[in-house]
Amino acid sequence: MEKDSMVGELVRLVGRENVLSSDMHFKLYEYDASLIRSKPDCIVLPTSTEQVSKVVKFAHDHKIPVIARGAGTNLSGGSVTVRGGIAIVLTKMNQILDMDIENLRVVVEPGVITLDLKNVLAKHGYLYQPDPASEKVTTIGGNFAENSGGPHCLKYGVTSNHVLGVELVLYDGQVVQVGGRALDNPGYDLMGVLGGSEGTLGIVTQAVLRIMPKAEAVKTMLCIYNSIEDGGNTVTAIIGEGIIPATLEMMDNLTIKAVEEAYHVGFPTDAAAILIIELDGLKDGMERLTERILDICRQNNVREIRVAKDQAERDKIWAGRKGAFGAVGRLRPNYLVNDGTVPRTRLPETLAKVVEIGKKYNLPIANVFHAGDGNLHPLILFDERDKDELKRVHAAAMEIMKTCVEMGGTISGEHGIGVEKIEGMSLIFSASDIAAMKKVKAAFDPLNLFNPGKLLPETERAA
């Protein structure tokens, strides 16, 4: 279809004020937080389910690819229109529709910003658990599509454990309800497969989220180490003792320095590693549990322990952790963040390999990780204008993914496959596995118009 007539039709469907089609806009929507870039043919910002449905129906009738987009913070190219088509930006659908506290649910539109929702809930004493580091800007729709994690998912699970229902626009524009406020709806767990499907199966226009009362007590500890191995061993030992804290986060020296320079949160810049351990729940027994954890830290040569005395001190520690990517971003023009995940006991070994890979390719790598989950985030720093360096970055990223797989892990813990890791899929899945996933895709999206070119490799190569 001609671009001009496409724009004309879309204007008719959603109104001129909700269609963007200038070169400047194409430039603004050609990227996300990955290195992938590609311009859409048209951008629409629908304001209702009905409009989304009309746009999808139009795209279906004319076989135009569509891609749902929130805040564009995706780290794997998931929000970039690699095959052109219509970018459906859902940021105008940003209302909290129902605070159904009585049933421990909220119903929201996909464009609601995660932290905004949490702030509203906090006023009522309730909590939506998932806490991706980018929660200040990311949207619920994006979180669900990518199945985002966050520090607290060690104890509380990832986004898909907290999204119980959606209103979904199917490939032909039909609108259906999947899941809902009540648990255990009969039939296949379509919610399960929609979470983390990266916009390849449908477009969510409403979501039902599980909320819970805020925990009575929280204890946050900052543990400082002279060796990264000691930090890693502490993590293994804590879980091995049968203690599952709410978070077990770790950062290496390069990250600590970057964070400290950017935010001045009081992290010691000479430390090899810091571990942020948080407990939450009932206050009873928490002191004893804290003491047990600190004992384990001491047995593993901790240099210093700081226990946050109040909310202000806690906020400061978390500001340092959540700002880590941003801070590291100041060091060089670009970074590529890896998302490999390993069984947590293999973390120290994997980390040593990542350091080796950095040396081998002569690239600085800063490490931030959800240590309790075994989820690594090596941030490879580079300058994309240096083509040789860029080549080395991709080679190093592939090698890190392979290492994680060899350790019994996987290539992505919470950032998604998108375009960036699509080559890595054959490291973990057989041709039959991928064929089974393609059947799911075909059942939801027979014409392959939802976010084409993502998540599933086109050819089925055996591992």
Partner: protein
């Protein structure tokens, strides 16, 4: 050679003659809704399952996967039944990674055997699932039916616990999804799709799950009420408090009576965790119960508490109720609906015991068998129950039922708008209709 002989020689060729049951008398025990299979096969490996399904697919045979058969009275009436595929010989613990708190087991092992092994290894851990019949139920059956129990209030269900699984697709392909990491977004989350798919998308052969360390302490508190509104008010109060019971069950007098408790309404709490927190929760809930007007509160003695929860979990066994209904509603309406069901059953003159998962909005109705004459009235009652559930964004499924009743009610409840996708999914994954045809939602 007749078709029947061909079938037998093909099956014998795959699993060996001793692992094929052909005796008509024995086959009767494997009938589903009165329909007996042509054969029961007992494969000993995933490879044999794969070859069996590939064969069934090419011969257009209908296959019903089976563990210990605790849920064979569930589901729609099969459209066709040729083979029962027993998973009991595929029953190993394949990996117990203690420091990583993860476990991989094959489908045919029973949950009780798994729990025994876990409790006795290292510091002791457990798989936090407590579904009905857990002495007999196999892991494969529990996961395929997404079966759960009272403690899901704290520990949730299989979808929040499983890290990965292996299965055989209807065409015989062996597939593996997920892994052993607690976070994983590589590819579609096929593990969740397989959980609760009732064997209609594939035969689960192995699962990998998270484990939890055994709790340091536990206690059980019972509060009896003369008035449902007051009992409901207590559950609501706890639901919105900072307290974290592992189970909170609200039941009517009939259910309580069958558990040996004298009460018009009973609220049962299970508390687990660190010792200090358990003690405090018992004290606070007891106090809350009294202030809500409980007639009596009681902490069960060690030993008695274990028995109590096994009996709640396995209520169907002790009550000899062949008809089990499961209603899901928004959490806050559970007490009210329990009351409505109680009245409706009484008005219909039908004996019905009610147990509600007050923290999850799941209400189970156990109806005694009163013979064929009652089929009509019971079907009418189920219709009324379903109407009531629908008012509160819920649904009603028939979890267990005699064949005659299934012909008169909708086993999987009211159709939902997403069935269009489910039907397409089944057609795409299993175009030959090999696995459990007719038994799952929407007749797929």
């Amino acid at each position: 050679m007749s078709n029947s002989n061909q079938l037998v020689s093909a099956l014998n060729g795959i699993v060996g003659e001793p692992n094929v049951i052909r005796d008509p008398d024995q086959l009767k025990a494997y009938a589903v809704d009165g329909l007996a299979p042509k054969a029961v096969v007992n494969p000993g490996s995933v490879e044999e399952v794969s070859r069996l399904l590939a064969y069934a697919n090419s011969e257009k045979l209908a296959v019903v996967p089976r563990g210990n058969g605790t849920k064979m009275a569930a589901g729609g009436i099969p459209r066709k039944l040729d083979l029962v595929l027993s998973m009991l010989r595929i029953n190993r613990i394949t990996e117990h990674d203690i420091p990583n708190l993860s476990l991989s087991v094959e489908a045919g092992i029973t949950l009780s055997e798994v729990q025994k092994k876990l409790a006795g290894t290292g510091r002791g851990s457990f798989l936090p699932l407590d579904p009905p019949y857990s002495e007999q139920a196999t892991i494969g059956g529990i996961i395929a039916t997404n079966s759960s129990g009272p403690r899901r209030y704290l520990y949730s269900t299989a979808r929040d616990l499983l890290l990965g699984l292996k299965a055989v697709s209807p065409n015989g392909d062996v597939v593996a999804f997920g892994g052993k990491t607690v976070k994983n977004v590589s590819g579609y989350d096929m593990t969740k799709l397989m959980i609760g798919s009732w064997g209609a998308l594939g035969v689960i052969t192995e699962i990998t799950t998270k484990l939890l360390p055994l709790p340091e302490a536990s206690a059980t508190l019972l509060a009896s009420f003369g008035d449902l509104a007051k009992a409901g008010s207590l559950t609501r109060k706890i639901l919105h408090s900072v307290l974290l019971p592992s189970a909170m069950e609200l039941m009517d007098g009939k259910a309580a009576g069958q558990l040996g408790e004298k009460a018009k309404y009973l609220v049962a709490f299970s508390l687990e965790g660190v010792g200090e927190a358990v003690d405090r929760q018992v004290a606070e809930i007891e106090e809350a119960a009294k202030s809500e007007g409980a007639l009596d509160t009681r902490v069960l003695k060690r030993g008695d508490d274990r028995t109590f929860w096994i009996r709640v979990r396995d209520f169907a066994l002790s009550s000899a109720a062949p008809i089990i209904l499961r209603t899901n509603v928004v959490i806050s309406k559970l007490p009210e609906i329990l009351g409505r069901y109680e009245t409706m059953a009484r008005d219909a003159g039908i004996g019905c015991a009610l147990i509600g998962r007050a923290g999850n909005g799941i209400l189970t109705s156990y109806i005694r068998d009163s013979g064929a004459a009652q089929t009509g009235p019971v079907a009418d009652l189920i219709g009324k129950f379903a109407d009531e559930a629908a008012k509160h964004e819920g649904n009603l499924i028939v979890e267990s039922s005699p064949h005659e009743l299934k012909e008169r009610v909708s086993v999987w409840g009211r159709p939902r708008s997403d069935y269009v996708v489910m039907r397409r999914l089944k057609e795409t994954v299993d175009p030959g209709g090999v696995l459990n045809p007719g038994r799952f939602v929407g007749g797929v």
